[in-house]
Amino acid sequence: MATKDAPVHNPMVDPVTGEYRVIAPGHTFKSVTEKVSRIVLTSHTPLGWWFGFVVAGGFVGMLLTAVTWLFLKGVGIWAITIPVAWGFAIINFVWWIGIGHAGTLISAILLLFKQSWRNSINRFAEAMTIFAVVCAGMFPLIHVGRPWLGYWLFPYPNTMNYWPQFRSPLLWDVFAVSTYATISVVFWYMGMIPDLGTMRDRSQSKAGQFIYGMLSCGWRGSVRHWMRYETASLLLAGLATPLVLSVHSVISLDFAVALLPGWHTTIFPPYFVAGAIYSGFAMVLTLAIPIRKFYHLEDLITIRHIDNCGKVMLATGMIVAYGYSTEVFMSWYSASHWEYFMMWNRMFGPMGWSYWVLITCNIALPQLMWLRKFRTNVGLMFLMSLIVNTGMWFERFVIVVTSLTRDYLPSSWGTYRATRWDYMTFAGTLGLFTFLFFLFVRFLPMIPMSELRLMLPQARVREKAEPLPEAGD
């Protein structure tokens, strides 16, 4: 199938396997190093970078405005009310955390499965994780109403003689998300140390040599160091894998532990994790496709990567579809009046349109990715990544809003209509995410050079035919 679809004379296609190559042929250790480090070490900042940076910076300004107003006036400026007390803040929190999950999946789980194609995209997928967690972590904090007392969530000795209550999933969240943020930063930074050494050695400016030198901790590439480094990487990957699965599971428990119809189900943890990875891979494509075009990295982030991301999205999308159908089935099979009504309300209630947006974006359209022609078309895959991200946002909207607006008692029903401050805060975090990403691609090597070198054919140690010389003495 593979060889039939791809042009035979395309140098990007491996003639033996018929698969697209992970790295374009003809690269050397030096050429991959230069290609990646030049983006950072050049004194010439591309105009397009400035443009994007300034636009993203404008959105950050909008976020600061929205948050300042929020601090002055309180959460009443949002549309949250009773019964919908969670609103945009929690929708965005869950959405952003989910996006972060693909970064960990790429850097940790695919490392454990020895999927070496991940090497070129893992660094910026990890950066994506961190920036997404930054955006995510902000929402529960500003949602508590008095963010300056946010540290009350942590167990610390205080004069009030008060301690947190560990039986609540909301507190579990604090530990899950803070651990996730810390481990993601550590994993990202540790993975960058050898590359920072390369940057130090290749930088022409005194300031660059000094800063990268400090950041690289004086890395000198000793094989003893490399072996410990490899062990630590594998251990961190092994630790990050159960961590990432636990984070979204814990978040889903915030919902599942409540007794609300539409929330109180056991399918939530696995279905949240699959949805997280689904939207995260979509975000990887949303970022990778423009970056490879803008910085001419088609040699290193190849069609193979886009094709593989498409396959992962297809697989996780199917798990998500299974989750949706299980929800529908269970609401019928439970024979519970409330569950039955919840599903009817979700599909045909006043906000039924959002359910159908979600089904279209997350289940119907992504089926196009079964076609290899579609998965290898960069433009269409970019479009698909945006569609899936939209769909996953609506999934959280449906879960949070439709369940809350109409619970057991019709007299307590309500409605939900986001205000401009809700939209500004959400758009602002999109800006913050992009802003941080622009800084990252300008100042740090976005592709792990040492791992690319390892993937080149010349990296293999070959045995010599002649025997080793005898010991001298």
Binding site: F29, K30, T33, Y162, W163, P164, Q165, F166, R167, P169, L171, W172, F175, A176, T179, T182, I183, V186, F187, Y189, P194, G197, T198, R200, D201, R202, G213, C217, G218, R220, G221, S222, V223, R224, H225, W226, M227, R228, Y229, E230, T231, A232, L235, L236, L239, A240, L243, S246, S450, E451, R453, L454, Q458, R460, V461, K464, L468, P469, A471, D473
Partner: protein, 180 residues
């Protein structure tokens, strides 16, 4: 303690990982022990060639993880049973299944931090100055595309002339003296 006078060692530069590994194996067979290889990416065979087989990072990580588990589980139990017992709908104070989640997270947190910082500590990093950076060709290649074998002067078998001729027999690009 290495003496500050004299040289740190002799550094041979190679073009390919295979040449480096063969030279390192030969040096080990020759009886050299105090030496190190410097490569732009992990070359496992080179580590084996100079007799470096196991590291303690896993052990540090395990100890860290167990500490994290004990710390959080202990904290939760102490808080909810002794320090601040709170009756939530008649549930037991010692609700261990609920304590598992934060304890699990802290196991991972401590284990991960121990793996990273343990690795750095065992490597003796951060160490911003090291004699190998004095080799004129080192910074240009060691983190990009060249492979180095440095035999250190503290090795009992080290002799500037003999070691140099030994290294030169293994087709290096160059052999240079490394100053302290």
């Amino acid at each position: 303690m290495p003496l500050p006078e004299g040289i740190y060692g002799l550094m041979a530069e190679f073009d390919s990982p295979s040449d480096l590994v063969h030279a390192a194996k030969a040096a080990h067979a020759e009886g050299y022990r105090r030496m190190d290889c410097y490569t732009p990416y992990p070359v496992e065979e080179a580590a084996e060639a100079i007799g470096f087989h196991r590291d303690e990072v896993s052990l540090v990580c395990l100890i860290g993880g167990l500490l994290g588990l004990a710390a959080m589980f202990g904290l939760e139990t102490w808080i909810n049973v002794w320090a601040y017992p709170l009756n939530v709908a008649g549930r037991p104070y010692y609700s261990w299944p609920a304590f598992v989640v934060p304890a699990y997270e802290w196991t991972i947190l401590y284990a991960g931090l121990s793996a990273c910082f343990g690795m750095l500590a065992l490597n003796g990093l951060p160490k911003l100055y090291h004699p190998v950076f004095n080799a004129p060709n080192f910074r240009n290649g060691a983190t990009t595309d060249k492979f180095f074998l440095c035999v250190e002067s503290t090795d009992p078998k080290f002799d500037v002339m003999e070691t140099r001729s030994f290294l030169e027999a293994h087709t290096p690009v160059s052999v240079v003296e490394v100053e302290y």
